[in-house]
Symmetry: C2
Subunit: 643 residues, 2 copies
């Protein structure tokens, strides 16, 4: 069962530091910007049509003749849902009547789109009425429903308003009838509804939603394969028309979930599924699920994860490939996949408090997820390469997906609103509450209110600075458990100025401070922010002979703009020092640049030469990976040869 | 115009050395083996059906009802053609009544397959009668015809028998009528007939075949694009049915040939086309063609060629990608493409005598082409990777084409008979005759007879040893021009024991020895065979921080079997020595292994670690790349990190 649960999003009030700044950016820029895009009001941006699809569906439900057509991906509704969820969190943080009005009118619209029986999906209403639930493999109905359930829970929890929650309960009841009564072998090609049903169960207290989630998990991957049979009989396809076979790995449906040991297939689907599995294991105590989650966690994070927390090595199916296959240039590493990895890690943390899970949250968050968004909040990466060479990246047929610059929007726009909802709910990832224990997983400036009544404020400029100063407000005999990231070689923890011995109070990546806390008690924790090099296992062919550079949880990269345009000729000096540059509040939103002793290889103009290339000492200038590509198209590398 | 022309295949009689051994292997093992495969008599091997297709076509021509069906690729006839060509060369080297009988009965069969008007193609006769010439983009009719023309020329030149030549003249006349009279805008999606027509022109002296070639070159890539129009109107497809667009780069038809500057598209098609362009430039003196050939040569060999002489960086279209994109694991580097590169280089050498062209012939030949065949002559690589990691290679979806072991045959079996015909005709690549000058491009043991009447014998164990001793037979005032490979840092040339000063007699990679040669004159040339490291330009992202090892023209690799199973943890020592091991006649057909001073990195078990991996000095054992994969599945690398 769960050893901790996340705090409500609203329990955290943001203060200073990098993520609070991002949360503010999301609230003030990203959410309004994305609404404009979803409403097709943003000039020069890929058309979304997501709101228009809903309006068309509503008009059709009213019996109007609709001439215009559904436009966009079959899961276009989910963009709206994720935006709604982000907006809900934002409303929980600061009143915003204009935003609230937009949300309310969107809920009006969703009420109009919902059909009598609770069914709610603009694609099927507008474009394929009569084909509901007949293409679970491709059609994302349950996926969209899941995202709307999440939005409903978020809005209810942020505002106490339950209108959308009622809509989605009615929808969940419709799904319950469809899948527990009418078609008990079916489940979603894209997992999401499973984790959403558990949220809905917790928001409403209704066991049937948990049962439905358990059912979806249990039937997945049973033989004969549902999707194979469905495809053979359904007679219509969305996009796999030319292929007669079904890649069951792609949908994680080759095996029953408890038998899955290797992460395979579409990376986002995978981690969304694993999130629900871990959550359910925590709710039910199911040891089989828990064991599978452990195996899958290791498969993902011990053998198939990039140093940036990216997952999914290939564009072919946006998928995992095989262990240790982590190419840096042809990588996929979708932003959404790293977000899903954070979901999975949070659930694993709730099953057992191990710093490893929080370490992965930091790795994915401070690198791939933040890197997925331009610093101005208006452009986004879907794919997050670790090496970019203009002329090859985005150009070679094998790298058409690896763009050297963030576009303003995508036809398939799953990532941008996913970043928005994650960052605006970051408090619920930062803190966990267990049995009279508050876990501090992430270091964010601001204040959290415990369910036990006390408050804990935190002053920190993390990860720019490695120190965090917590002040206790209230009085309580309790335990505070502070995540000690594995990268911190030396951590100092003081309570009211007195240093605690971590060797006795820390275990599994957490420092436990148990005492009768008094108002004004101060806990300070200081991490070792010395920049360091990282080495990949030599089982990873792509990284042999190379090193990456980190400072705290932040992975750095070398960009052309800081290095005379040419990053490919740089190598790190094997015994060279990596130094912090001066914090520059004007540079890339405020960063600590790094300087690494290295070399510039002056290779021959010839393609191949037997002359050993001359090299000269050169200081390599590095910036956080999450800031790359903000200064125009240029070369970028995370892994540099070390010589 | 041409400064030299190849010697006839039969002018060279093989002696000692690596390539002569391969030529013998082809004659004694490969040709009989491949006949068995083509005749579906080889157990446990992918079915060819190539001969059976011809038999079916012959029966259909006789008016028999044929129940069985065409089987295999649309260009299955070309496998037979390439085999015939190889067999012709073999018959020119040694009498073999059994083989000759097979060839003669195949010619009987081809006569029966040929239709009244000269048309000859089993696919269209058996499967698509009535659709001849309607799908030039895909259907390979002209490609198959070209290969049969080459076979006809080879057989005629080897044996003086002109029965097949007559068949193919009749076929060429049919093509002439079709494309100069009926459909003058059409040309082949897969170039080959162009270079074959020039061969046919030289074998028969008939200008019309040269004219037809010139026509095919001239119409290629003209606007509007023929293939785009053909696809829009023809109403049937062979394999691109799902795609509505035509990738004109794939067939090198985006631009007229004289405007092509960058090598694009399917690599084999590209170099076959460039071969014909260079050949035609030499025949006609067309400066526009010559300029295009220079630009394309540089595009291919200065910016898109692997150190092994492989070309074609991606499986997607078996194609070139963009400059400097040379990934080692996901590479395509089809054996046929390197063979075509040798064709192209030979034509460039005939346009101008520059060592660079012969260097590329050596690079492609001694590495990718020889590596394309198992040492026993019975298994073949289509794709020639520079890095193999069992568990990833052949397994990851991005590397399904990069097999760690040679299969015995392929459904698409273009490469095996292509290797056979190249190796059995190697003499015509080794020597060129210009204006009273014999060019020695490649060093092969044996004897060549000049058109001028004298003979030049060569004793050499090249490339195992770097010396070659030539003896002149006859009397002639003439010039012998010896290729001085760019890799030889120090070359000594002696004439009758007297050392010649290369700085005065060598230019552009050739040492010119002009004198009145007497019977028994001896010229010795000794190259520097010291093993050396090679560095790629730092513009090649895949090879930064790495070095490869060569000895003479032979690229070496590290295989697991010689290195404790683990090649990924090896790195070359930056200042380390590379030494020759003792020649081992039993090892891999007789090789000089190399030992390179390097390191074994003992990396952490963790995927990423901030601990600098310990490393220990280790002697890295290397074998010629062309021998890799002959001792079971194991890791293999050409480029190793250098630290």
């Amino acid at each position: 069962m769960k050893v901790s649960r996340e705090v409500p999003v609203a329990a955290y009030h943001a203060g200073e530091g990098l993520l609070p700044v991002y949360q503010k950016l999301v609230r003030e820029v990203v959410i309004p910007y994305q609404y404009q895009v979803l409403d097709d009001k943003m000039e020069g941006v890929e058309k979304s049509h997501a709101l228009e699809n809903l309006r068309l569906a509503a008009r059709k439900n009213r019996g109007e003749k609709v001439a215009d057509e559904f436009y966009g991906m079959v899961f276009q509704d989910s963009d709206v849902a994720k935006w709604l969820e982000a907006a809900a969190y934002a409303l929980g943080q600061a009143p915003n009547p204009e935003l609230e009005e937009k949300v309310e009118s969107l809920i009006d619209l969703l009420e109009e789109v919902q059909q009598e029986d609770g069914y709610l999906n603009s694609y099927f209403t507008v474009k394929e009425p009569g084909r509901q639930w007949t293409n679970l493999q491709e059609a994302h109905e349950l996926y969209c429903a899941g995202h709307l359930m999440e939005a409903a829970c978020a809005y209810y929890q942020a505002t106490g308003k339950d209108r959308l929650l009622k809509v989605m309960e009615k929808n969940a009841d419709c799904i319950y009838r469809q899948f527990l009564e009418k078609n008990p072998r079916g489940y979603s090609g894209h997992p999401e509804v499973e984790l959403a049903l558990l949220r809905l169960y917790r928001a409403t207290g209704k066991e049937k939603y948990k049962d439905l989630c358990a059912h979806f998990l249990d039937v997945r991957g049973q033989k004969p394969n549902y999707f194979v049979e469905e495809k053979a009989t359904r007679g219509w396809n969305l996009w796999s028309s030319s292929s007669k076979t079904v890649d069951t790995d792609y949908t994680q449906s080759t095996l029953p979930v408890r038998e899955q040991k290797d992460a395979v297939g579409h990376a986002v689907r995978a981690v969304y599924l694993y999130t629900a599995m871990a959550d359910m294991a925590g709710e039910s105590g199911d040891q089989g699920l828990k064991d599978a989650c452990h195996a899958l966690w290791e498969s993902v994070t011990h053998r198939q994860m990039y140093v940036t927390g990216g997952i999914g090595s290939t564009v072919l199916g946006e998928a995992f490939t095989v262990d240790y296959d982590l190419p840096n240039a042809t990588v996929y590493a979708e932003t959404c996949a790293s977000i899903g990895l954070i979901f999975f890690a949070r659930q694993m943390l709730q099953l057992e408090t191990k710093g490893e899970y929080a370490d992965v949250i930091e790795r994915a968050l401070y690198n791939t997820v933040l890197g997925g968004m331009q610093l101005d909040g208006k452009r986004f990466f879907y794919v997050n390469p670790l090496e970019v060479v203009p002329g090859i990246s985005g150009k070679a047929v094998t790298q058409e997906h690896d763009l050297p610059q963030r576009p303003p929007w995508y036809a398939c726009a799953c990532c941008p609103p996913n970043v928005a909802r994650l960052l605006s709910s970051i408090g619920s990832y930062a803190y966990g509450e267990g049995d009279n224990t508050l876990f501090i997983h992430l270091y964010l400036g601001g204040e959290v209110t415990s369910a036990l009544g006390y408050r804990l404020s935190c002053e920190t400029e993390y990860p720019r600075l490695g120190s965090a100063r917590f002040t206790f407000h209230g009085e309580k005999e309790t335990t505070l458990a502070f995540h000690v990231p594995a990268w911190s070689e030396k951590t100092v923890l003081t309570v009211n100025g007195e240093t605690w011995d971590l060797s006795s109070c820390a275990r599994d990546g957490y420092a436990y401070v148990s005492r009768v806390f008094q108002e004004g008690d101060v806990i300070e924790i200081v991490f070792d922010m010395t920049p360091y090099k990282v080495y990949a296992s030599s089982r990873v062919p792509a990284d042999t002979g190379c090193a990456a550079v980190q400072r705290g949880p932040v992975v750095y990269c070398a960009e052309g703009v800081d290095n005379g345009g040419d990053v490919l000729s740089l190598s790190l000096s094997e015994n060279g020092v990596v130094r912090e540059g001066a914090y520059d509040p004007q540079l890339l939103g405020g960063i600590v640049p790094l300087e690494a002793e290295g070399w510039r290889t002056c290779s021959s103009q010839e393609l191949y030469s037997r002359k050993r290339p001359q090299r000269e000492p050169e200081m390599i200038h590095m910036v956080p990976y999450y800031t790359w590509g903000n200064r125009g198209e240029n070369q970028m590398r995370v892994w540099l040869p070390e010589t």
